[in-house]
Structures are given as C-alpha cells and as structure tokens.
C-alpha cells in the first residue's frame, strides 16, 4: 500500500488533494489506470482517467460495449482497486483504504443499482429493502416502516409481499431503486439499470431515479449505452477503448 503512494506521480496526488477540498465535487478520479493481467498476458482497460463529478448531478457514463465503463464504475465505487491513480469520494481519498474500511464507506455512502437487479430471490420486495436497512443498523419496526415508505415512493406498496420472481423487470428495478435509497446515501452508482428493461419501463425507471435523487440531493453516476435515456442527464462523459472523451 505504501509503495503505491510512493509510486504515484506527485502531481496526481497533489491535484487529487486539491479536488478533495473542492466542496462541489462528489467523485474525483486522477490518473486512474487499470491493467488486467492474466496468464496469457495483460489488458490495459483504463488509461489515465481524470474525472470530476459535481455534487447533485445526474452523470451519465456512456460508451460502446467493452470500453471499460463497468471497470471504471467499480473503481469509482471502491469495489475494484486501480493499478495506478487515485479516487476520492465526498472529499475522502479511498484508494488506500483497507477492504474493511471500504466496505464501511460503501455501506454508509453509496447506493447501488445493477443491470441484473440483484434482488435476494428468497426475500419479498419489502424484505429486500429491510435487509439493506438492517445492514445499516436500522432494525425492527423502524426498518419495516421505512421500507414500506420507500416502496410506496417507487409506487410498489401493493407489491410489498411479492417475491422478486413475481415482479416484472421494471418493478424489480424499482424495488432495487428503493433499496439503493436506504439510509439516504449521498452517492448512487448504477450500472446499465435499463439494459434488461423494455424502452417504456426503462424510461420510467430512469425518470423515477432522477426524481428521487433530485429530492434527496444525491449524486448519481449512471453507466449506460442506452441513448434513449440521455435526457435525464445533467452531464455526459464518453469512454472509448479505456480513454475518456469529453462531450
């Protein structure tokens, strides 16, 4: 870990500290590189990524399949450690945090939405949300009430006791949005949330996400290659072959 700090170009470290002081930046990446190495060789998936995402923005990250969007999102969410470079979230440098500290940070600050919904199939809609609240230390009756409130916010109060397999794709993603909002996280990270949905429900889901995020004052980073949802974005960046292309 210490080696990594020493290896960084000092300019990158310095500028990341500068951006950390910038109160308007929620997510900042400096000189992020990602090289996947396997037995056969290595693959340079991300090259010198520098990015600032403003607080309260709905930021889209677009680009063709295989361009490195998911890899970048994982790094910005503290799930994947970059080969080089630094990331700071909400003014906190996360690149050198231990796995455990990263998990704590994610639990408190980041809500996730996945392309495949990733609901717990054995739990009902309301239990899926309750579980997320339980993880954050909210238990019992309070968690039940809060889950019900969140479900009604995404218009699914009537489906509270349905299992995921009895919900449509759009409904599942709405449950996932409700789950991502538990504990009022300042950041929401979504990887292709509409890819598994038809265009109508895809649009409805992103509209809902935009509305709730704006109400909560969340910063949203949404990876997509769905051009039909660009109208929800405040800003858009493009990734091509692991390189950011400004719009």
């Amino acid at each position: 870990m210490i080696n990594k700090i020493v290896d960084f170009p000092s300019r990158a470290t310095f500028s990341s500290m500068k951006s950390a002081k910038n109160l308007n930046v929620a997510i900042a990446a400096r000189g992020v590189e990602m090289v996947f190495s396997s037995g056969a060789g290595s693959y340079h998936a991300l090259k010198n990524i520098n990015l600032d995402i403003r607080k309260g923005d709905i930021q889209l990250l677009m680009g063709p399949s295989g361009s490195g969007k998911t890899t970048l999102l994982s790094i910005l969410a503290g799930i994947l450690t970059p080969t080089a470079g630094s990331v700071s979230l909400l003014g906190k440098e996360i690149t050198n945090l231990s796995k455990q500290k990263l998990a704590e940070f994610r639990l408190k600050n980041i809500g996730f939405i996945f392309q495949g919904f990733n609901l717990f199939p054995a739990l009902t809609a309301i239990e899926n949300i309750e579980l997320a609240l339980n993880l954050q230390g909210i238990k019992g009756k309070k968690a039940k009430e809060e889950s019900y409130f969140l479900l009604s916010q995404v218009g699914l109060a009537s489906k509270a006791h349905s299992l995921p397999r009895d919900l449509s794709g759009g409904q599942k993603q709405r449950v996932a949005i409700a789950r991502s909002l538990t504990g009022h996280p300042p950041l929401i990270m979504a990887d292709e949330p509409t890819a598994a949905l038809d265009s109508h429900s895809g649009h409805a889901v992103t509209e809902l996400l935009r509305k709730l995020a704006k109400e909560e004052g969340c910063t949203v980073l949404m990876v997509t290659h769905d051009p039909r949802i660009v109208d929800v974005a405040d800003r858009i960046v493009y990734l091509e072959d692991g390189v950011l292309v400004d719009s």
Binding site: L73, L80, A103, F112, Q115, F120, L123, L135, K139
Partner: protein, 417 residues
C-alpha cells in the same frame, strides 16, 4: 434482522430435505451408538445396582460379576460372624442351558439366592412371587427372555440341563445385554441344577502366615439321585458346597473400608467390594476390556463424520448457488461478520431442524428396542444435550468450508450480467 439464511434454506425444499436427512442420520447414529453403549453398560450391572447389600465378597480372582471362581458356602457362614456384619446372604451363579419344548437350546446364567432374604433382588417382579421359588425346581425369568425360552405364562415348564424347570414368576430390568439369559431360582434349586453330582474339597495350607487354599471338585457319589429318571432330592447346602458371592449388609454406622478389610482377613482367598465398586468393575470390564466401548465409539465417530460431510457439502453448494447474493451483500458494504453470520445461521438452522426429528426417531427406536428386543438404548438428558451440542458443532464446523468459499468472492462479480 431479516433472516436471509433461513429464507435461502427453505427456498429449495428438496435440497433442504436431503440435508436434514443427512443430519438426522448423523444424530441417530451418534445417539443410538452412545445409547447402546450406555444401555449396555447399565445392563451389565443392573443386578448389582438393585442389590440391597453394602458389600459383595467374591473370589480374589474375580474379573466381573459373571467371571469368577467359586468360594465356599462355609465362607458365607463365617462372614455372618465378622464384626460389623448385620446380615449376610449367599449367592450362587452357574452356567446352564435351556431346552424349550421344541428342543431349542439357549445358554443360561443361573442365579441362586436366598428366596427369603433381602440382599439380592432379582429385578422387579411383575408376575408371581419370589417366595414361590421354595418349590422344588422352580424358576423366575426376565420378561425379555420369555420368547427365547418359549415360555408364556406362570406354570409353563421347560428343561434346565437335564431337569424340569417351572416358571413361577416373571421379572424385568435384570438382563445384561452382554450375557446369556438370566434365570433366577433358590440357592438350593441352583445347587441341584448346577452342581448335581459334584462335591468340592478345599485344601488350605499356611505359608508365611498366609492362607493358601485350593478348591477341588469331585463327582459326588450318586446319593442325590435315586435313579436316572427320578427327581433329585433338594437339600440345604453344606459347608463344602461351592457358591459365588457372599452379600453383606453392614451394621449402621460401619466404616465400609474397614469392614471390607475384616471380611477379607476372615475369609481367605476372597476380595470384598462395595456395591458401587462391584458395579463399576463389571461395567469397566464390558466397556473397556472387551473393546465394545471402542467399537460403539467408532460408530459414533463415523456418524459425526458422515454428518459433517453431508452438511458441509450442502452448505457449500448452497453458498455456491447464492454466490452472487453474497457478492451483492459485499458490494453493498456488509462486513465479513455479517456474511459469516448468514452462513453460520444457516448451519445452526440445519443443525436444530435435523436434530429434532433425529432425536425423536431415536427415542422411538429406543422404546421399540426395549419392548421387542429387550435391548436398552439409554438416552439420558445429558446424552440428548451432548448430541445437540455436537450437532451444532458439526454443522458450524462444516460451515467453515462454505465460509472459505465466500471469503474469496470478489464483489466485482455483481456487475457481471
């Protein structure tokens, strides 16, 4: 907390049932093996436990209740004179065989005791009366043996060695699983059954102030039998007749250790045991020296291993199937503690839900075995509690495999479609 562990467990009912069957099997194996061992051990000393004696005096070469050398009736008479003895009674054990009406042979162990005495108790009499043993050639049998002796009711007759034997009483809680069939009769009857035609001689010498006695048995002159076909004459025992034990009741307030020493001194070539010592010596022989304890212990170990493999396998597959969910939990920021908690909770659920039917099965089996086979499978609360602890340990132990699998999950898998 929403119990994702429990819900995941019940999500796939067929697999859950397979797991529970495996755990049930393990619980049953361990409980039955332990129960058989305990029941076996208990059964080998039942008659000693039930006796009202404080001290058992037998040959100094005694190995366990049924494996010993004879002593003399005379020593019973002498024992009554020893200071501190309130009451003494003779007990004779002898081998025999039973021919049922259809000619089937069954090996027997015959117990001859004073039917008017108090110290030897031939189990719990359910039918008939001990006093009826005063009738010549009468016996009491344990209800668990009636089938094999082809006896059904009082006054049924079979053949013991070459003499007739009439059932005058039925008892229970006497039979040792390790021994041949126990039959109870009066001392005089037993003497006729076992020793008819035998007489004994004791030759004692004194060497360095030590008694050194040898007992020899010889064919008696044919005075006891009038002819081949006629009944033998039943007589009280004489000083030179062999018996097996002298049961002693101490006077109130006696120090049993000192009384034992006085008895051993007064009765050469004998050794005295308190009743608990006698029971322990007999049980130790059967559980330790015969290797029965080892064998049953191995059975129990196999049970635990089978259980661990089954539970380990099921938990591992379950975790593998739900790997993406564990990845999601990790991505959401759940700590390792929470994730291990889910797996351990699943393991404990499996343990408890496998234990309950397993233990019920064992209790049922133990009743059945006692009723129909006369085999005691002893399930004490301690055994039941111990097996529960072991089951939980077994399940938690096998959960460690699954935990290892989930530790290596990269939360990045959540973004893989």
């Amino acid at each position: 907390m929403v119990s994702i562990a429990r819900k995941n467990l019940f999500e796939d009912i067929p697999r859950f049932l397979v797991a529970q069957a495996g755990i049930m099997l393990a619980v049953t194996l361990v409980t039955i093996q332990t129960g058989v061992l305990k029941g076996f051990s208990l059964s080998t000393g039942l008659l000693i436990d039930q006796s009202q004696a404080d001290i058992w005096v037998g040959s100094k070469d005694m190995v366990h209740l049924e494996l010993t050398k004879p002593i003399l009736y005379e020593q019973y008479i002498q024992a009554q004179q020893v200071e501190g003895v309130a009451m003494a009674e003779p007990l004779m054990l002898g081998p025999g065989f039973w021919s049922s009406q259809n000619g089937e042979l069954t090996p027997l162990k015959l117990f001859g005791f004073n039917s008017e005495g108090k110290l030897f108790v031939p189990g719990k009499i359910t039918t008939g009366n001990v006093k009826d043993l005063k009738q010549p050639l009468s016996i009491i049998a344990d209800q668990s043996s009636l089938d094999s002796l082809k006896l059904q009711k009082i006054n049924d007759v079979g053949q013991l060695r070459s003499l007739p034997a009439k059932l005058v009483g039925i008892t229970r809680d006497t039979q040792s699983i390790a021994a041949s069939t126990f039959i109870f009769t009066s001392l005089e009857n037993a003497n006729v059954y076992v020793n008819s035609g035998l007489t004994s001689k004791v030759n004692c010498t004194v060497e360095n102030n030590d008694f050194n006695c040898t007992t020899t048995f010889e064919k008696k002159p044919e005075k006891n039998k009038n002819s081949e076909s006629e009944m033998p004459i039943i007589e009280p025992l004489t000083a030179t007749d062999p018996i097996t034990y002298v049961l002693v009741k101490a006077k109130p307030g006696q120090d049993l250790e000192q009384l034992k020493q006085r008895l051993e001194k007064a009765l050469p070539n004998t050794k005295a045991y308190t009743t608990p010592e006698m029971a322990q010596k007999t049980r130790d022989y059967w559980t330790k020296r015969t290797g029965v304890g080892f064998i049953l212990g191995m059975g129990a170990t196999v049970g635990v291993v089978v259980g661990m493999v089954v539970v380990g396998q099921i938990l591992y597959t379950s975790v593998s199937d739900h790997l993406k969910e564990f990845g999601t939990l990790k991505a959401m920021g759940a700590s390792n503690k929470v994730i291990y908690g889910v797996i351990l909770e699943q393991a404990v659920w499996m343990a408890v839900l496998g234990y309950i039917p397993g233990m019920l099965l064992c209790v049922g089996l133990s009743h059945w075995a006692l009723q129909t086979q006369g085999i005691m499978i002893l399930i004490t609360p301690i055994t039941a509690g111990g097996v529960l602890g072991l089951t939980v340990l077994m399940c938690v132990g096998s959960a460690l495999f699954a935990i290892q699998k989930v530790t290596s999950v990269d939360p990045a898998i959540v973004f893989k479609a």
